[in-house]
C-alpha cells in the first residue's frame, strides 16, 4: 500500500476509538479548570502530555491538594504501561530514523497501540506501516485536542458534568479492545489474574497496583503458554 493509503487506513481504523475518547477529553477539559489549572495550562497538558488517564488522575489529585512530587510520581507509575507498549512495537519501528521514532513515541497511547499492533501483526509486507501508525496517532491527537477545547468552552455551561459518568467511555473502549483478544487459555488466564491482582491491590499508593496486576497477568500468560507448548517440543 502507498503512504497515503496506509495513513488514511490508520485514521479510519481509529474512528471507533475516537468515539470512546471523546467523552473523556470533554470531562478532562471541563474539570481541569475547576481543579485549578488555567485554560492555557489545561490545553498545554493535552498538547504536551497527551495521556488521558494520567491527565485525569493528575487533576483529581490536584483538586485534593497533593504536592508536585506525588503528582509526578503517580504520573510515572500510571504511564509505566507505555514502556511495555514501547517494547512491544520497538521491533517494528527500529529501522526508522530517530525523528520518526520520537514522533511515534510521543503519540503512543493505549488506543493507538491497540490499533497499530494489530496492523503490524498482519502478514503483508507493506513497507509503509509507519504511515498507518502516524495516521492513527494523529487522528487520536487531534480528537483529544478538540475535545479538550470543547470541554474548556462548554464544560462550565453544563452543570455537574462530572456526575454524568462520562469516564465509562474509557472502560467501554478498553473492553472493546481486550475481549476479542481472549481467544486462548493463556490470554484468558492473564486477564483473570490481572483483574484479581488489580482488585486486591487497588489501594496501593500511586496506582502501583496497576503495574503489579499487569506483571502478574503477563507472567501467568507466559507460564501457561510454555506449558501448552511443552508436549509439542517433546514430540519434536
Amino acid at each position: 500500500m502507498t503512504r497515503v493509503q496506509e495513513f488514511s487506513q490508520g485514521v479510519r481504523d481509529m474512528l471507533p476509538m475516537l468515539l470512546g475518547a471523546m467523552p473523556f477529553g470533554i470531562i478532562y477539559g471541563s474539570l481541569a479548570v475547576a481543579a485549578g489549572l488555567s485554560p492555557w495550562q489545561t490545553l498545554a497538558m493535552s498538547v504536551f502530555v497527551f495521556a488521558g488517564s494520567a491527565q485525569f488522575i493528575a487533576i483529581s489529585l490536584l483538586s485534593s491538594g497533593v504536592g508536585l512530587t506525588v503528582l509526578l510520581l503517580t504520573t510515572f507509575v500510571v504511564n509505566l504501561r507505555h514502556a511495555l507498549y514501547s517494547a512491544s512495537l520497538q521491533p517494528f519501528v527500529r529501522h526508522l530514523p530517530a525523528r520518526w521514532r520520537m514522533g511515534l513515541a510521543f503519540w503512543l497511547t493505549d488506543e493507538a497501540f491497540a490499533v497499530v499492533q494489530h496492523r503490524y501483526a498482519l502478514a503483508d509486507q507493506s513497507l509503509n506501516k509507519h504511515w498507518y501508525f502516524l495516521g492513527a496517532a494523529l487522528a487520536m491527537y487531534s480528537n483529544w485536542l478538540l475535545c479538550t477545547v470543547i470541554g474548556l468552552v462548554f464544560g462550565q455551561s453544563v452543570p455537574n458534568l462530572a456526575e454524568w459518568g462520562l469516564d465509562f467511555a474509557m472502560l467501554a473502549t478498553f473492553i472493546g479492545i481486550v475481549v476479542p483478544m481472549l481467544r486462548n487459555c493463556p490470554q484468558v488466564a492473564a486477564a483473570l489474574v490481572a483483574a484479581a491482582v488489580a482488585l486486591a491491590c487497588y489501594d496501593f499508593p500511586y496506582k502501583l497496583g496497576l503495574m503489579a496486576a499487569a506483571f502478574s497477568g503477563i507472567l501467568v500468560g507466559v507460564v501457561l503458554e510454555r506449558r501448552s507448548d511443552l508436549p509439542e517440543e517433546e514430540l519434536a
Binding site: L19, S86, R101, G176
Partner: protein
C-alpha cells in the same frame, strides 16, 4: 504549586517512558520477553477495566445492581464477545450505560 512545572514535568516523564524502548533501535529482546509482550494489552487494560467497574470512584466497592458501571460493563463485555466489533461495543456500551443511569435516576437532570 506552579502548575506549569506540573505540565512540563508530566510531559517529560510521559515522553521518556514512551520513547524508552524506541530510543534503543539496536536492542533485540530474548524470546521469553517477546512472549511476555503478547500479554501486555490483555493484562494492562483488564487491570484498568475491572476495578473501574467494581470500584467506580476508585475507593469503595460497589458490588450492587444499581452500579451502572458494573452492569453496563458486563453488557459491554457480552456485546464485544458476540459482535467482535469495536464501534458496536463502544457505542452500545455507552448507550446501555446512560440508559441505566437515566432509568435509575443517577443522571443530574
Amino acid at each position: 504549586m506552579d502548575n506549569w512545572l506540573l505540565v512540563f514535568g508530566m510531559a517529560v516523564i510521559t515522553f521518556s517512558i514512551r520513547y524508552s524502548l524506541f530510543a534503543l533501535p539496536n536492542l533485540s529482546f530474548p524470546p521469553l520477553v517477546r512472549q511476555g509482550l503478547h500479554y501486555v494489552p490483555t493484562a494492562v487494560l483488564t487491570a484498568i477495566v475491572v476495578p473501574g467497574m467494581l470500584l467506580p470512584d476508585g475507593q469503595n466497592w460497589q458490588l450492587a445492581l444499581n452500579n451502572a458501571y458494573l452492569v453496563a460493563g458486563l453488557v459491554t463485555i457480552a456485546i464485544a464477545a458476540f459482535t467482535r466489533h469495536l464501534l458496536a461495543t463502544i457505542g452500545g456500551g455507552l448507550l446501555v450505560f446512560f440508559l441505566l443511569r437515566w432509568a435509575m435516576g443517577q443522571l443530574p437532570i
